[in-house]
Structure formats: C-alpha cells, structure tokens
Amino acid sequence: MLALYLRDLRMGVRAGGGALTGVLFFLAVIVTIPFGVGPDLNLLARIGPAILWIGALLASLLGLDRLFQADREDGSLDLLLLNADRHMLALTVLIKCLAHWTASVLPLVIAAPLLGLFMNMEPVGIAATALTLLVGTPAIVFIGAAGAAVTVALPRGGLLISVLVLPLVIPVLIFGVTASYGAVNDPDPFTPPFLILCALTMFLAVIGPLAAAVALRSGTD
C-alpha cells in the first residue's frame, strides 16, 4: 500500500503529473478577484475566506478526472482490480486519494496563506482558513473519487465529475467558510463548525472510497 502511495506521489510530481495545474488555477482565481471587486479593502477582507475556499474547491476538482483514468488507459486499473483479494479495493482507492491529495491539493493549502494577503485578510483569519482547508480539502478528494470512478470510461469526464460532485461538497464548503469566519468575527463560534468539518471529512473518507470501489468494479469492460 505504501508502494502505491509512493508511486502515485511520484507520478504526480514528475513531468506531466499536473500537480501544478491546480495551484496555478488557484492563483489565477485569487489574483483576479481584487481587480474585479475593486479596491475596497474592508470588503475584500470580509469575502476573503469564502473566496479562498471557493478557489481551493474548484482547483481541487480540476485534476480529479485523471485519478483513475490514467490507470485505466495503461491497464494498471485491471491489475489493481485483480489484486482486490489482497488489498481491499476501497483501501486502494483511499490510498490513491491520499496520494492525489498530497501531490495536487496540499500545495493549494500551502499557497492559501500567501494568497490570503491578496485579500487583505488578518493573520488570524488566514491561519483559520488554512487550517480549515487542511482539514476540509481531503473530503473533496474522497467524494471526488466516487465521481472519478463513475466517469472513468468517459474521455472528457472532467466537467461531469464537477457537476456530479459539487452538490455533495457544498456542506464541506459551508462549514469550512463558517469556521473561518468564526475565527475572526467575535460572536460567531469557531469550534462547532470546525468539528463538523472534521466529521464530514472522516465520514466521506469511508463513503467516498467505498462508492468508488463499487463503481470501478461495475465499470470494467
């Protein structure tokens, strides 16, 4: 299993892995917002956490279509399925998700504090947003894996994944943004939405890979 994690990580960071695509997209979204919204610093600070979250959400959906498609195209997926008795398929999917998260989504979390400066956010707000992103983005990948497994046979499945998955990640977005606001706006609480966010991630870490495994099993041809 560690071998699978390392292989996918290597694939992600080597040429053509597409790990940087997400970060560049994230950067493009956040940098254009202040130009679009205008130089109202208070407004920027107020919408900052939400914009960071939306940018990170869309950027992490970007590379999901390759999660299983790359393995399907070179025949590796057949062998991953063939070894399902040795490594439970849902566990294999979970490992692939974690590797994808490390290679493609973790850079977004790391870039988020820097991009928070563009939005004129306070240090506490930036820290809270980065923390909620760190905890919340795995959930997007886990549920995205189910979408990627359903669309694995479609050559242009990327957009379809986003459409399938977006309704399911809305709760993650809501609680992530609520917790980030809770850290800066005084009467709003931080801990309850943050804990719900943690619970969502753990819940989807089970549901997502299981659903993806079922979809992959029935999707072979």
């Binding site: 290597r10 070179d74 070894n83």
Partner: protein, 203 residues
C-alpha cells in the same frame, strides 16, 4: 491444483460473444485459445480473471484455498496494455508491482535479465521500444508468484529471439506446476498444449 470452466458464456454490451465454453486444466497444463477476430478470446480471458461478469456457467480454482481464495487472486493477467507508467523507470514500475502484488519470487534485476533487458532498469519505461515494453511487462509475471498466467496476445511486438525466450519461460512455469491460458494468433512454441478454438463469431 485445477482451473475449471464449465459452460461459460460471456457477453459484451448485452450481446453474447461466446457460450458453452468449458475446460479443465491441471498442474503444468497450458491452453491456447485461438480463433478469428471478434470470437471472444480476450473477453474469455477477462471473464476468467473476473474483470468481466459471466452470464452463465462457473469458473473455479481448486488448490491452495488459503493463499488463493478466488480465481482472480491466483491469476497473473497480461493484457494488451502493459500496465506500466511511462514517467517512471522500468525498475520503479516493477518494484511497485512486486510490492503491490506480493508473493515475491524473482528479484527485479533477475527478472529483467530473464527477459533480456538486463541493465535497462534505470530507463524511463516510455523510452523503451514496443518489443522492449512488452518484455518489461512479461518480467512482471516473474517477480511475483501466481499459479495461473492469463496471457492476451503475449508475443505481439516481440522479435524471434524474445519469442523463443518467452516460450521457454512459459515451459518453465508449466514445468513448475503452473497453468497457462494464452489467447493468440501466433504459434507460441509450446509443446503438448490443449487448444480451444473459438469458432463462432456473433455479429
């Protein structure tokens, strides 16, 4: 140890591709599946591996049920695609499959030596020629132990010398009590094999 198929039917997209296929293979036996294009050779192999569902019939693997509880767990499947990543080196690819598939047998460099790719392990898989890629994929059969080899056009792209070398590898596998099921148009150079002719083409 036996691989049994009884009255097997396969379909693709709701259309029957073959039906009534049956065979029994014991230790050391090889089955060559022949037939025209579209007669269902590849489908049969995928059905045996459990990658496609079968509409009727039964497939079973009788043997060490502790180590190999299902047919799939006892099989190596070498399909049309090589299941290797072109961005990684040959060595990295093979090490991954050895760790993932388990039941390690030959070392990676020994396996590469066996298929005539000794010393090329450091190259990215994408740099190899078609025949060399195929040989690297064949090395995958050697690095972890599975009693049943399912081979789909295993020798496509191989030159004559590699053909002979691969025939010897299959002989060795059978001699060690393994089972080979190969779908092919080309003679594999195996002696004393069973043949299954997939005659009828459904259109």
């Amino acid at each position: 140890m036996r691989l049994i198929a009884e009255n097997l039917s396969g379909e693709r997209g709701g259309e029957a591709v073959f039906d009534g296929i049956g065979f029994v293979l014991a230790d050391g036996e090889a089955l060559v599946v022949t037939g025209p294009n579209g007669s269902g050779k590849s489908t049969l192999l995928r059905v045996i591996a459990g990658l496609l569902p079968h509409s009727h019939g039964r497939i079973a693997f009788e043997g060490d049920s502790e180590a190999f509880p299902t047919v799939a767990s006892a099989c190596h499947y070498l399909g049309h695609l090589n299941a290797m990543k072109s961005a990684l080196t040959v060595q990295e690819n093979l090490e991954f499959w050895r760790d993932f598939a388990g039941d390690g047998q030959l070392g990676v460099s020994d396996a590469l030596e066996e298929v005539g790719l000794g010393g090329l392990g450091h190259l990215p898989f994408g740099y190899l020629s078609t025949g060399q890629k195929r040989r690297a994929a064949i090395a995958k059969l050697l690095i972890s132990h599975r009693p049943v080899w399912l081979l789909d056009e295993p020798t496509s792209g191989l030159d004559k010398a590699s053909d002979a070398r691969f025939a010897a590898l299959m002989q060795d596998h059978c001699a060690a009590g393994g089972i080979v099921v190969a779908a092919t148009h080309l003679p594999l150079g195996l002696q004393g094999v069973k043949t299954l002719e997939m005659g009828r083409v459904y259109v």
